[in-house]
Symmetry: C2
Amino acid sequence: MSRVVFLPSQKAVEVPVGSTILEAATRAGVQLQSSCGGKGTCLKCTVKIPLPGESTEGLVLACQHTVEDDLVVTVDEQLDAHSRKIMFQHNMPVIVAPCVRKYQIELAQPRIDDQISDWERLVSALPEKEIGFSRSVAMTLPHILRKENFLVTAVLDGNRLLAVEAGDTLERSFGLGIDIGTTTVVVYLVDLNEGRVIASGSATNPQQSFGADVIGRITHAASGPDRLGQLQKQVIDCLNEIIGRLCRENGIEQREIYQAVVVGNTTMSHLFLGIDPTYLAPAPFVPVYRKEVEVEARELELDILPTAKVVVLPNVAGYVGSDTVGVMVAARVDRLAGINLLIDIGTNGEIILAGKGKILTCSTAAGPAFEGAEIKHGMRAAEGAIENVRITTDVELSIIGGGRARGICGSGLIDAIAEMLQVGVVDTSGRIIKSDNQVAKLPPLVQKRCRRNDSSGEFVLAWSKDSANGEDIVLTQKDVRELQLAKGAIRAGVNILLQELGVSLQDIDRVMLAGAFGNYVQKESAVRIGLLPALPPDRIMTIGNAAGEGAKMALLSVPERKRAQELARCTEHIELSNQKNFQEEFLKALSFEV
Amino acid sequence: MSRVVFLPSQKAVEVPVGSTILEAATRAGVQLQSSCGGKGTCLKCTVKIPLPGESTEGLVLACQHTVEDDLVVTVDEQLDAHSRKIMFQHNMPVIVAPCVRKYQIELAQPRIDDQISDWERLVSALPEKEIGFSRSVAMTLPHILRKENFLVTAVLDGNRLLAVEAGDTLERSFGLGIDIGTTTVVVYLVDLNEGRVIASGSATNPQQSFGADVIGRITHAASGPDRLGQLQKQVIDCLNEIIGRLCRENGIEQREIYQAVVVGNTTMSHLFLGIDPTYLAPAPFVPVYRKEVEVEARELELDILPTAKVVVLPNVAGYVGSDTVGVMVAARVDRLAGINLLIDIGTNGEIILAGKGKILTCSTAAGPAFEGAEIKHGMRAAEGAIENVRITTDVELSIIGGGRARGICGSGLIDAIAEMLQVGVVDTSGRIIKSDNQVAKLPPLVQKRCRRNDSSGEFVLAWSKDSANGEDIVLTQKDVRELQLAKGAIRAGVNILLQELGVSLQDIDRVMLAGAFGNYVQKESAVRIGLLPALPPDRIMTIGNAAGEGAKMALLSVPERKRAQELARCTEHIELSNQKNFQEEFLKALSFEV
């Protein structure tokens, strides 16, 4: 028999070892909500118990956790209200247990024989202990306390008091998940009570004007005094514009946003924090910081509650940033069975290989080809972009928005080249055919599209009559080479990680494609051009903007945020430029031979 | 036998219980500096040991501390260099062990197989663990590390990294002790290596223009938006002006000042921090905060290293502020034998009674009479102020600076009234004599000085021919009443504390007068007018600006700063307005009867 004590009621009960906490609660007369019959799916019976070997408490489901020893269980009414199941795109449930919590309290009013200071009066009524003093909160505290007769709502982030609000404001609690991409900045506005994304907004990263890739930004930051500050201001202004819009459209005040969790590649995070990224560019690619960073919003001039914490998730290395950590959190790489390969293709390509109790990662200079840069008619996946290509008797195109073609985006590029390989417009070495007898083997309408430009071949995807700007939209030999370099880098990275883990391509149980790009790409095309390993299609899946998902999960759930730190800590970074066989693997991977 | 292990050398030795740590060190072959033959006076053999019952380490003298059990002793080379004895005005030695420490370190340079981030590279080389991330330091870290080939000096305050400086700057480490008085602001510039005050500067508190006392300031702060900010800015600007001057005159850069410890009455501290003092004015006199506050200098715009901590020592209550805590630290009230009375007379009068294991305190609205305000010819103790008065056959004056009299300061006022009482110009009820037959008993030259103004009497201290402005300098009946109110309030406070502790006046072993005022006042006069209890003069002493001393001690020594917190916590505050017998005691104390 074990003794279980329930707090705060102090009710105690003896139950046989192996009983669930829910059974013990029922016997002790402690009422826990539950509506799934103990199946562990409604998540309503969440309780706190001490974590083994740690001095903190952890959340468990009372119906799923058994009593193995004497146990103290804390039943928190607020926890029930907060604890809802939320479903992300890839169907991962997250228990809503944000670091930000609100408490409504009514204080005794001061009297001549009770002269305790306002601050101490307040904090002594809060469940958290050791609350650090906040000058910002103290500055206006006396008025707020007296505005509604000492009835207030306190906003806590861990043991930091973020704000005190007059009256009862329990129902309003918001946070932000922020994904700062080299190309696109995305902000998710999240209801921290409901665990629900209320709205999201995005914009082009305005730093774009100083270069499409991170090297351009680093070079600019180092090019003169205040350049770093300028880049930082650009991204903060851009975020503030999105935040302002999201707040207006959803009837939320900016001071009701109590936390922001940010992910981005290491360079983007450095720039966001105003930290000099100079030494990320040359070998040995050293970041200034690696672990999770917490900064007050006012310090960054981010337009949310000034005392709110801005949490930037940890990096793994100079070119494996918190965005990759976000992907790992969202995909739960530490809990997947078998051998799992994750590829996040953005302006850079980060690769994660998890299995055999290890997590390996590397980054490749994939180049911005997949985002449409460096491609003659390349463009982002916006209206007018060719997103899918089929070549049968002629070329068939799908165009975003359904109108005329303006250019080609990453997924279209992969499709196009896969199809060109399939019908023989491109050979396995990557050359666009030029000789008449090679061209003659193609269907007649496709033949017309093969032509020469100087000494190299090019292929017309859309004739001028069908294009938005009245020009032919073509793929050039150089475009094909750009794609080869990009996919070669990624495949070489994959191969090196596989060697490092001591497994072969065929051992991979699951390939996950993260990033907006992953949502649009045709798996078969990606396999055909050799970007992805040749595995059965059911082993390849897309998981959406997993980096942003990871940020939201860390915002909503303290355990997920801790997991992000743990993942960053235990992930092994493989520096490709330090691998003797990288050049060889890269050259091998350039070819389109399957 | 007990086992003693010395860190960092890991040398261990078994010694008999009762041996000193110094003896154990000698046996273990660990060299400790010592030049006083184990008398405990050179303070060179300072070592760290775990404090009983606490998770921190404390400093002890190896020659004085005996080994009673197994013990781990940390020998810190830097500690020796830092640990000097310093003598304050009242001859209290303080072991120099400031919270601010510098470490010179040389780091391995990054390589492709050693890509650890700059921050981690740095902190892993520091003795303190769990160093919090500082964005401010990180912002410029990469350049500073590379400026002198990864040879840097780190500046730590506890486990916060304040700055990283290129090269070896161990020899330069400075701090400030700041005493914000209602009337005067004083700044001490302290060398944290030497434990020495390099220079000090003072200025009139510019908030003076909004009222001589705290109530005037509180009223002004509440009188409109931004008024609080205006008062805060005034005192910060004033401090910055003094700090700038002290730095220029002593060849110190402001960024070399790594900490400031501030004391002031509760209102002054609230204003300094920009915290609304409104509810300090009406009963129940509630402060917004009470405990020690730490704020970054940049948040207050105090012109020292922006990341430096500004530490405001704790208050006891709304009218017993950190200045009083500073007095308690400097006077070491917790270590004095017998019954000890401390009085700090400034714009307010704070009283401390320590004995029988207790520390009691109260504050009295002494009014600014002792600082020259509310007195017809009152002035601060500056050039031209009458500071001493004797009445024999005529009046003899001592004037600050030796020139003509411009007015009278607090010590002169007490002297004057004591002498007027002595010769009979004032009777024990406080009335200046008017009737001719009373005046006739005085020496002829003194008789001339007694005259009427409307219906009350007044007394000429300096004739117009001897005064700086060509007017007679007089003491009016109202002036005497002001003094009576002020001294009555203080004596009533003293009496109530004595009753509360259950002791009588004659039980007092020591009376200490703190504050600039205490330095100038003639003890005998203060006793004569009943401001101080009638005790033998050798039991009465002055201890100077003890509030400022306390600030300096807390700056220089972590244990002293902890003591300040402990003193504020355990001191029992007696709210005089809540004492049933206060009015009665006050009325009794107005009289000049001895």
